[in-house]
Symmetry: C2
Subunit: 466 residues, 2 copies
Amino acid sequence: MLGARGLLRGLRACSSAPRPRRALPARLSVLAALGAAGGERIKVQGWIRSVRSQKEVLFLHVNDGSSLESLQVVADSSLDNGELTFGSSVEVQGQLVQSPSRMQNVELKAEKIEVVGNCDAKNFPLKYKERHPLEYLRQYPHLRCRTNALSSILRIRSEATAAIHSFFKESGFVHIHTPIITSNDCEGAGEIFQIEPSSKINGSDENFFNVPAFLTVSGQLHLEVMSGAFTQVFTFGPTFRAENSQSRRHLAEFYMVEAEISFVENLQDIMQVMEGLFKTATMTVLSNCPEDVELCHKFIAPGQKDRLDHMLKNNFLIISYTEAIEILKKASQNFTFTPEWGADLHTEHEKYLVKHCGNVPVFVINYPLTLKPFYMRDNEDGPQHTVAAVDLLVPGVGELFGGSLREERYHFLEQQLARYLDLRQFGSVPHGGFGMGFERYLQCILGVDNIKDVIPFPRFPHSCLL
Amino acid sequence: MLGARGLLRGLRACSSAPRPRRALPARLSVLAALGAAGGERIKVQGWIRSVRSQKEVLFLHVNDGSSLESLQVVADSSLDNGELTFGSSVEVQGQLVQSPSRMQNVELKAEKIEVVGNCDAKNFPLKYKERHPLEYLRQYPHLRCRTNALSSILRIRSEATAAIHSFFKESGFVHIHTPIITSNDCEGAGEIFQIEPSSKINGSDENFFNVPAFLTVSGQLHLEVMSGAFTQVFTFGPTFRAENSQSRRHLAEFYMVEAEISFVENLQDIMQVMEGLFKTATMTVLSNCPEDVELCHKFIAPGQKDRLDHMLKNNFLIISYTEAIEILKKASQNFTFTPEWGADLHTEHEKYLVKHCGNVPVFVINYPLTLKPFYMRDNEDGPQHTVAAVDLLVPGVGELFGGSLREERYHFLEQQLARYLDLRQFGSVPHGGFGMGFERYLQCILGVDNIKDVIPFPRFPHSCLL
């Protein structure tokens, strides 16, 4: 079912049609019907979300996923043939009229209701009028998208994806499809997946690509290549870790937004883009699907609306790693891992720092050289030797972005990785970049606790449904 | 380097900066500088594309990838320290002035030129003033993006990506990230890749996901799930084939645009979206990066501009498979594969059909049931039994889209795949969808002969560079 604009465009574009489309009644999405003035004769198709049969009148709510709100259908009860059950799909023709109830603006006075596909209530894992826990729904990746919670989350995910693309496009970044299959195993970022043609996995020694090939853990190297031509580039695609982690913050397959910028002069250049991305994308999502966000903030994460407003209203803070360690050392709280200069920040530390900073996102900059990969830019400071790295910590989630200036100086890198060197020989420039976990971003703005609930088909150890 | 809008937004958003940004001269992209009025004091950063030194005056062309056109820099020859070579990166400060030449509107009168990174001309695989063949450039995936041809193609790819997302968003489709890793090996679509954690690939019998896992060959099944909730959905992501093919039309990793639409009534519903997508996206690309497209149409594929205009101006044609076979049988041309009802169309047949139809894209519909996968909708016709499948053939490329109505009728599917059945039990609806190879689309509109030249990092048998 096409939205009105798509339909018109389609008809204009393809007038060599073998049979003309019926002129009336117009096929409308539920979203379009809800926004119409009333009076039109229309046809709506979707799934029954509720049925209420009174003596003479029948009320249906029909939802087609175009919006959280369903369209109320009012019909003479003679139209109920007993097949109008929760979950079944229907096509309803009739007239849109002003609704007498203040629950909705318009309702559809049905002239004809056709059941398109039955739904056997007994076998259907979703039960009428029940609010199913998210854990329960995870068993049914092919049906959970028919609930209010998951359909709202996935519509928001779609909006957020578009908002992130728009932000970069309007800022002059070129979008790059960095490869999924790579012959480089990155910085040994934990456990990775290796690939082979399925027919060879138990035989032959020869590699399909002549070299061992892996699933990417980051598009950074490939973006660095492209920032050497386009100055500002970004990618937004799947990345993979083969870690045996069952946490509510990890998946084997997840999406990363990564950016790389040439000619940056300091970390501030990178942090501006990070903060701009977070705030602009979030504001776009809030204004494009307010009802869906409201549902999450009301039923899934009460209080999250205020927490998010607070993040958007305030400037993000900046502290150095050294300051962070001092704050943690002065804390009255007992940590499982004692904070110490030179040691990594753990989740408990990140949480404390964000709280200490008034629940505003906080950039932690200038990490110990020994903690970070070789390609990060040496600050040449002392006695505590640091690199120009930055992490953004956000309330509820912890680390959301990680970034750095990259070491562009040939002699600093000379004794490091040979592959990396070839990029620095020809017109090398200072550059830097960052990555943002897209699912963590969604968790952060929506307050969804488990990462498996913000991705359509979660993949994690022991689970690859569908 | 941020575009002007991004910079302003960044500054507004992040005023908690540790050090204030210098107010002047403003850092501009080459694109922004070329569009400026003249008179401004600015700073531009990029790579030297040409150097011309006269007795008293030095001319540079500086390109930062924001546009095909470079910015002409005019300097007193005393500013030439001998390091201003082709390929090196520079930062130039000065005043934008009206150019006396009619080659450009403005030029930059340099006050200061700083070499940011040297480029050793002897080792640099790109040679000054040479136009390198695309085959030669493929050896240097990390440098070819610095040529006019590849940078234009990749900017167009970025624009086309945005245009495709916009088309679907404006038509009311929800974007779905269908999974890359899947436990279902699809319709045995040729050879596929299997994945395992790299530490296990030579050991252990246990699977990471408990079941064998593969790289997706299509997001169709997952989109069908989602079309059962959102009615109109699309995905745009990487798909994989482990086929040992060295053709100019195949890659091991390529991008597919796939859509699925519920409540479709006939193939026309699907074809409208296909034609709308092709024409709308292409028109957007043509209007957003005319110089880049012109370069391709001028130097890479002469004549392609007219061929593309012809495709856009005309309605796509529709013929049945049966008609197609009749046309082929009547052809004076000798085919390697004799056309016969029930046999697949080969590339030679596709080319002939497109030519026969006046080099307009042509939809071929209603294929023999025996040729197509089980999930395509039975037309219940006879004596020649067909299914509601559609392929779109385009000049130069052949098959660009493939689609079909899906079989939604439970009893037609009952003896087929068990996994598929569960989708049809609960409110099943007539639906259909299609897939478009994104690289083939780029080949089609640009006239680029080899698929390896329209993707940033091509992966194919024996090659996985970077």
